[in-house]
């Protein structure tokens, strides 16, 4: 629910954001791939004329024999990836989320998932991270699509450091499932300062709290942390769970997050249809009973604009989480004016 934000909340949180450094996802992706090339000599990288655009040009310069450029042809790229995997290779597809999922979804389903082969799809520019690109490049239905495919693992790391861990985990897990990794594009805030472990299928609790639970993934984890820290100053305990694995979802953790709190917020940079919010509600359908509110992109083509401003305008922010938390807990912001600063 996108609510109007009181000025004092907006200015306080906006100030706090400045305390965090930022790192571009694409830049980190390129650095990670170069590092992984040495530690993991077996994987191949496939791209669809997006070598520079996905930041793998350094990898390509160092390991030209391991970079396969298929041109602007995502369906073929996905089929080729599956064919390579069927013959024992480990392909990492580097593309944009919009085309990796929507353009080539049948190949992802049949050639990779149905064939039981491990293909790693790294999908950049997801969500609103290419906000100015408009609906052709904004991607807010990819999680819904990919998690509906049987045998598909779906991961959404939250910042540059967690992405690095996520890529390591994806390479190292022994599985016959393809892995979809949803990534942003430009700078994101670093709430992790050093290496974080990444266990596929296991969520991590980043803040504790007894009043409300906030479940998030991707870029929204940082917003959830900001919101929790702000709420703590108001005497409200907001638990934060990073659900970086949407599938297989950490059911136990989701159910546990519903116990001992009054309400739950789920926030994601994705449509409210079929994404993390949907996955969480599926987990909770059989209990425990709790009031859940989802914050995401409503069923619409969002406006076109710079990522940060676009997220803010759609309520994908710590500010909106705070206001919704107050609302769900039946509290008024006016009760806490002293705490806000």
């Amino acid at each position: 629910m996108n609510k109007s934000i009181p000025q004092d909340i907006a200015s306080t949180i906006s100030e706090r954001r400045k305390n965090y450094t930022q790192k571009a996802i694409r830049g980190q992706f390129g650095e990670t791939m170069v590092a992984l090339a040495t530690s993991h000599p077996n994987f191949l990288v496939l791209t669809s004329d997006l070598m520079y655009a996905t930041g793998i040009d350094s990898f390509g310069a160092l390991h030209p024999e391991r970079l396969i450029n298929l041109g602007i042809a995502e369906q073929n790229m996905t089929g080729v990836a599956a064919g390579l995997a069927l013959c024992g290779k480990l392909p990492i597809v580097c593309g944009y989320a919009a085309f990796t999922t929507l353009r080539a979804v049948e190949q992802a389903k049949l050639d990779a998932a149905y064939n039981n082969v491990k293909v790693i799809f790294t999908a950049q520019s997801a969500g609103l991270s290419y906000g100015v690109g408009g609906p052709t490049h904004q991607t807010y239905e990819d999680i819904a699509i990919m998690r509906a495919i049987p045998n598909m693992i779906v991961l959404v790391p939250s910042d540059a450091i967690e992405m690095d861990s996520c890529l390591h985990a994806a390479l190292e897990i022994e599985t016959s499932s393809p892995i979809y990794i949803r990534l942003g594009r430009g700078p994101e805030y670093n709430f992790n300062s050093s290496y974080v472990p990444f266990q596929i299928g296991k969520s991590t609790q980043l803040r504790d709290g007894k009043d409300i639970s906030i479940l998030a993934n991707g870029s929204m984890v940082f917003e959830a942390i900001l919101a929790s820290d702000f709420l703590a100053g108001c005497g409200i305990g907001a638990r934060v769970l990073n659900l970086h694995t949407v599938k297989p979802i950490d059911r136990d953790a989701v159910r546990e997050a519903a116990i001992g709190v009054e309400a739950m917020l789920v926030i994601e940079e994705h449509s409210v249809i079929g994404g993390l919010g949907g996955a969480v509600l599926e987990c909770l359908a059989e209990g425990p009973a709790i009031r859940v509110r989802r914050i995401g992109i409503e069923d619409c083509f969002p406006p076109i604009g710079p990522t940060r401003e676009l997220r803010m305008s759609l309520g994908l922010s710590a500010e909106n989480l705070v206001v919704n938390a107050f609302d769900l807990l039946g509290q008024t912001i006016e009760k806490h004016p002293a705490k806000i600063n």
Partner: protein
């Protein structure tokens, strides 16, 4: 004859294998009550030559890394492949009578590597196979292995744009170990391909994409033996495309070139006519 094979077979033996393949296909479709007769019978000789004369495969080691690969891109002709795999000893003959008959039947309309030993990739949705074949052939080159990859497509299937994405890629990567085959039977589900969506001149199209193209009679065993022979460690630098002129429903007079036999119900009378025309000994 021992159908679980000794190679190579004589031309007469291959001819008989093609006949047995058609009977097997009919036996499966009779179990189900219907099937893609036309689509299967146009590629019988192609499959027979590959599986009984040319491909390097081993039923005792179906995942052998150096085996030749086969991609049934026109997945709805799967029963032709099932018969070959059965007669080569990869899957049991008794599965034929379960074809499509129950939940969990191990032979179904389209091939699946989940359930069938010897199937190199699941297929069924048209336009996927050539890309998978490109990936397989690329893997062979990267690993310096000498296996060949065969991809059998329908002529209607080449309507799919993804086929041409793969055509460009195979040419770019100089996949001389990749052999594409077009089963050009001129009929797709809705009628003459020339009316549904014309693809001629087929040979010129593939040549323009950088392939070595040969056009042959797709029912001539000697011609197929020659053009489909694997090339190993040769200096060629282009993928090969075999454009095989075929007859939909070939071998059964009342099915040949009849659109509706793309996939149709079969009566007991028609089945017994078919068996007798193919010199069946009963199944």
């Amino acid at each position: 004859m021992d159908l679980n094979i000794r190679q190579p077979l004589s031309l007469d033996d291959l001819k008989d294998m093609a006949r047995i393949n058609r009977l097997d296909v009919a036996r499966m479709f009779m179990a189900a009550g219907n099937g893609h007769f036309g689509s299967c019978y146009s590629c019988t000789e192609i499959i027979t030559v590959l599986y009984f004369a040319l491909m390097r495969i081993d039923r005792a080691n179906p995942d052998w890394m150096d085996r030749d690969r086969f991609v049934m891109a026109k997945g709805h002709a799967a029963p032709t492949l099932y018969s070959a795999l059965i007669r080569r000893g990869f899957i049991p003959e008794k599965w034929m009578d379960e074809y499509e008959t129950a939940v969990g039947a191990r032979l179904m309309t389209h091939p699946s590597r989940r359930y069938q030993s010897g199937v190199d990739t699941s297929q069924g949705s048209l336009g996927h196979g050539l890309s998978i074949g490109v990936g397989m052939a690329l893997a062979a080159k990267l690993d310096k292995r000498d296996y060949n990859v065969y991809v059998l497509m329908g002529d209607g299937e080449t309507n799919e744009g993804s086929v041409w994405e793969a055509a460009a890629a195979a040419s770019k990567f100089r996949l001389q170990n990749l052999v594409g085959i077009i089963d050009l039977n001129r009929l797709s589900v809705d009628g003459e391909l020339e009316n549904v969506m014309p693809m001629e001149p087929m040979v010129d199209k593939w040549r323009a994409f950088g392939w070595d193209v040969v056009r042959v009679d797709g029912h001539s065993l000697p011609a197929l033996l020659k053009v489909l022979a694997p090339q190993r460690n040769v200096g060629a630098s282009a993928p090969r495309m075999i454009v095989a002129d075929t007859i939909k429903g070939k071998g059964v007079s009342f099915m040949e070139n009849v659109r509706s036999w793309h996939a149709d119900l079969i009566s007991s009378k028609q089945y017994s006519d078919l068996v007798s025309e193919l010199g069946g000994v009963g199944v």
